[in-house]
């Protein structure tokens, strides 16, 4: 019950964050570099996927889809499906981002130039992302030692990875803002 309420609360927070990101995308300044604009699109996609996963997972968990002898198979399929969906969504977000930005800039091809500062920010963001993703993995193992069900453990690890990507991107946006 508490776990279900927590998931739903997290879902609402993520949906609000998504609205916040969407408004940031709509008010993006024309002079922002493409790399920076594209981070906003990645962030929106990651938040949408995580919210979608939490909704699907909490519903399936509540209806007992992961219980019984085939429970782990259903769980494995669900997580695999979401991994594939995340990859497809990230590629689609990039393509949509390029098209939207090209339209916003009057049909001009967006300037995708990257330099040493972009690469330094990217590398630091990846480090943060890996650290948070690793913490999510450890969190899942920790939950296992406290006797939590395997579906909750796996979901924690998966959400941890996605959350790592989100935190990494937020770190990159902050680094761009700071210089």
């Amino acid at each position: 019950m508490i776990a279900d309420l927590t998931l739903r609360f997290l879902y609402i927070i993520l949906m609000l964050k998504l609205l916040n990101i969407a408004s940031a995308i709509l008010s993006m300044e024309a002079h922002m570099p493409f790399g920076l604009k594209s981070i906003w699109f990645q962030l929106a996609t990651e938040v949408a996927v995580i919210a979608w996963f939490l909704l699907r997972f909490s519903n399936a968990h509540a209806t007992g889809a992961f219980d019984g002898p085939d429970g782990l198979i259903v769980l494995g399929k669900t997580v695999l499906w979401f991994i594939a969906a995340t990859i497809v969504a990230m590629i689609a977000a990039h393509i949509v981002g390029v098209i939207v930005l090209a339209i916003a800039e009057g049909g001009k091809e967006p300037d995708t130039t990257t330099d040493e500062r972009d690469r330094a920010i990217e590398a630091r963001g990846e480090k943060v992302s890996n650290a948070v993703g690793g913490a999510g993995f450890l969190g899942g193992i920790l939950l296992m030692t406290f006797g939590y069900a395997i579906p909750v453990v796996i979901a924690t690890m998966f959400v941890g990875c996605l959350f790592g990507a989100i935190v990494g991107n937020i770190f990159k946006l902050r680094s761009y803002a700071e210089g």
Partner: protein, 74 residues
Amino acid sequence: MVKGAKKLKIGNNIRRLRFDADEMTQAELAAATGVTRQTIAAIEKARYAPTLELAFLIADAFAKPLDEVFFRED
């Protein structure tokens, strides 16, 4: 950086040098050095320390020696 090593504060004269170079814009300097305008803006405000390679390229763009473009602030 070695732990405990003092972090150098590096300043620059890019703003003045751009002005002296017929009011060169940040975008023009960026194009001359192969980086984005945002990177030039960050360097100019001393928020980002460029690599030695980029520092030399910036100095070359103004046809000045490196120490006329960048200097130690402490």
